[in-house]
Symmetry: C2
Subunit: 405 residues, 2 copies
């Protein structure tokens, strides 16, 4: 008998017939002899609808009340899921984040988990019942309802799996697993049977949309085995686990792309200690979410600093950058919203030199110009023009031998 945490995302429970299908699956798992804890997100576009309502009555959107509002979404889904399970003869009880023991800090809309004390969940399991927990919810140290943020249900599931010492955490979603690249761009993209925490973290950081990066970090830190799979096909998906040191690693596991960012360059920056710190402190204070940062070697005492920011932050970042540039005596600020970040990721890269060279050769062969480069021990990323992204991904997926046999 295994103890499984099964998390179902918004699309997986978006309609009554989907809820019934998920209940069938949970009931099958229970009949198979396993213990199950279910975590559900809000149904489909429910959270978006609640956000629209809030915007309609308020321009201030106080965090405490936003969390009270948004958590109504999972509450509906978890109660309906329990009812559907009851209909299938499976005793089930729903639990809010608070009831499930999720203690958080007081950062509304983006609360951090401080502790998970799943006493009621354990009691329900011991009584032969299926606990159904509202995802992304908790109660703060001030006894207020908190929301862990969009995509927080994955984190709820992983944290619960860790606290309960579950055998695995299954993340059911609307894709059948983690792919070697975006299957919408590359029809030959292959579902990976297995991926390491480190690789998946690099992938989610560079454009792979699921599972939520925060949940992968939590799983890596606490060693929770993840199984990313589809709630529509029910077939085996992708296992996420520690790297297997005895196994030969594929050199490259995946190619990702991200078109959600823009590029900004402050040029002619005096090459003095503290200048970069000043630039990025000011941007951080403006809550501009800076991602990839590249600084070229100094040329005659001046250098260029390039970085990427989300499209939504670009205007603020450019305005701030121009002020800073004037103050520090830089030449000026340029920006380009039409970029894409293309990354190749693979744990085998560590022991196989030449990956970067192969990547650059592949891009050159399709005439794609590289604007920025950054690397980690298991990733190489290039910023290219947005309109060349698709061609670049297809070529890289092919040249690294990732396509379906």
């Amino acid at each position: 008998m295994a103890l499984l945490v099964q998390k179902f995302g918004g699309t997986s429970v978006g309609e009554p017939d989907r809820i019934r299908a998920v209940a069938d699956h949970v009931a099958r798992t229970v009949r198979h002899g396993d213990q199950v804890v279910v975590v559900v997100s809000a149904m489909g576009k429910e959270t978006d609808g609640l956000l629209r309502l809030a915007a309609d009555v308020s321009s201030t959107l106080p965090g405490r009340e936003m969390d009270m509002l948004i958590t109504a979404g999972e509450r509906k889904a978890m109660a309906l899921m329990c009812m559907a399970l009851h209909d299938r003869g499976v005793p089930a009880d729903s639990f809010t984040g608070s009831q499930a023991g999720f203690l958080t800090d007081t950062t509304h809309q983006n609360a951090k988990i401080l502790a998970v004390r799943p006493d009621r969940i354990r009691a329900a399991l011991d009584a032969g019942r299926v606990p159904v927990v509202g995802g992304s919810q908790g109660v703060s140290t001030e006894n207020d309802v908190t929301f862990l943020g969009r995509g927080g249900s994955d984190t709820t599931a992983v944290a619960l799996a860790h606290a309960l010492a579950a055998d695995a955490c299954e993340l059911y979603t609307d894709v059948t697993g983690v792919f070697t690249t975006d299957p919408r761009l590359v029809p030959t993209a292959r579902r990976m049977a297995k991926v390491s925490f480190d690789e998946l973290l690099e992938m989610t950081a560079t454009g792979c949309p699921k599972p939520a990066m925060r949940s992968v970090e939590y799983a890596r830190t606490h060693g929770v085995r993840l199984h990313v799979r589809s709630a529509f096909t029910w077939q085996e998906g992708t296992w996420v686990d520690e790297e297997d040191p005895d196994m030969e690693q594929a050199i490259i596991s995946a190619v990702t792309h991200d078109t959600s960012e823009a590029k900004m360059t402050i040029s002619g920056v005096p090459d003095q200690p503290g200048v970069a710190a000043r630039v990025f402190r000011e941007l951080a204070d403006l809550e501009v979410n800076v991602d990839m940062i590249v600084q070229n070697v100094s040329d005659k005492g001046v250098t260029d600093i390039s970085f990427t920011v989300p499209h939504s932050d670009l205007d603020r970042a450019v305005a701030a950058g121009e002020t800073i540039a004037a103050e520090i005596g830089a030449l000026g600020v340029t920006s380009d919203p039409s970029i894409a970040r293309i990354s190749v990721i693979g744990a085998g890269m560590r022991s196989n030199p030449g990956v970067a060279a192969t990547m650059f050769e592949t891009l050159a062969a399709c005439g794609v110009n590289i604007q920025m480069i950054s690397t980690s021990s298991i990733r190489v990323s290039c910023v290219v023009a947005e309109e060349e992204a698709e061609e670049a991904v297809i070529a890289l997926h092919e040249s690294f031998g990732l396509s379906e046999a």
Copy 2:
């Protein structure tokens, strides 16, 4: 400075613009120097929508989960109300029934309040904030979320007003107060400036739809002054209070009617001790909600027992009645779904004989036949044919001098 509990029903908060209008009103009350605790129902038809969703995924509808589901409705309304108050510069915090200190029994979907411990509500008031409480909610002795039932928000408001020793409990609804009769039937119906608890209880028991009878009982028991008024006009409504012993009572205060019930008669019942008890115990065990019961004097050792039941219970009641009739040697069972119960209510009736006679004369004058009669110390009710109900109500409202001057 007064402490007021203001309760807003579903229609009063049914749309974003209604929520903003209510927030304006609460803000005005606060600026006037009063302390306010707000109680809200779910928005408009929200609860009906949740019930439809439940019926769509489940035929068993487990009570614990139904309560978890339905309480999502008030949760949305209370969070949105707080946001709208924040926008008006009024600090406000929402509280679930549990957070507001409503401890209930474990009867899901119809939980009874065991205690109200509004510590967090008092703390919010002391901090100069407006607490906004979800109506009809509580937490059970087993730490599960409970729902007090449809219309339970009125009870939440009254119980909170009692626990906080508030100066008054204002029930805002979609009518402008309590009327001498249904204004839809009788255009000359008059809004009552004042009505006693006893009279309003008899009225709500015999067809006056608002406020919920249970909340009036709670208010009478604990001496909570109610003010029933409109959230659309904001004008003074009807005050509900103890009878004023120094004041001359109107003989008749109101005429009510109720067409939600059917009549059933078991005829030729042997007139022996225990027979009536047996009939109504069996019906009670079937959860048939028997209302008005009339038994005629015995005639040659047999009698007729007539009573009313809700339309929805009639088929079950007739089937059970026929079984019982056969067992006790009664003649048979007849039933009629097309009846109306017409009542005249007034505390002044106690010291003024002749009210029943006037009522019967009035009905006779319009050719309305009386099928059943029952009385209390401040009420006379007659069952008549449903199609004659409107004419009867109009005639009684006129003959007892209730019409607008």
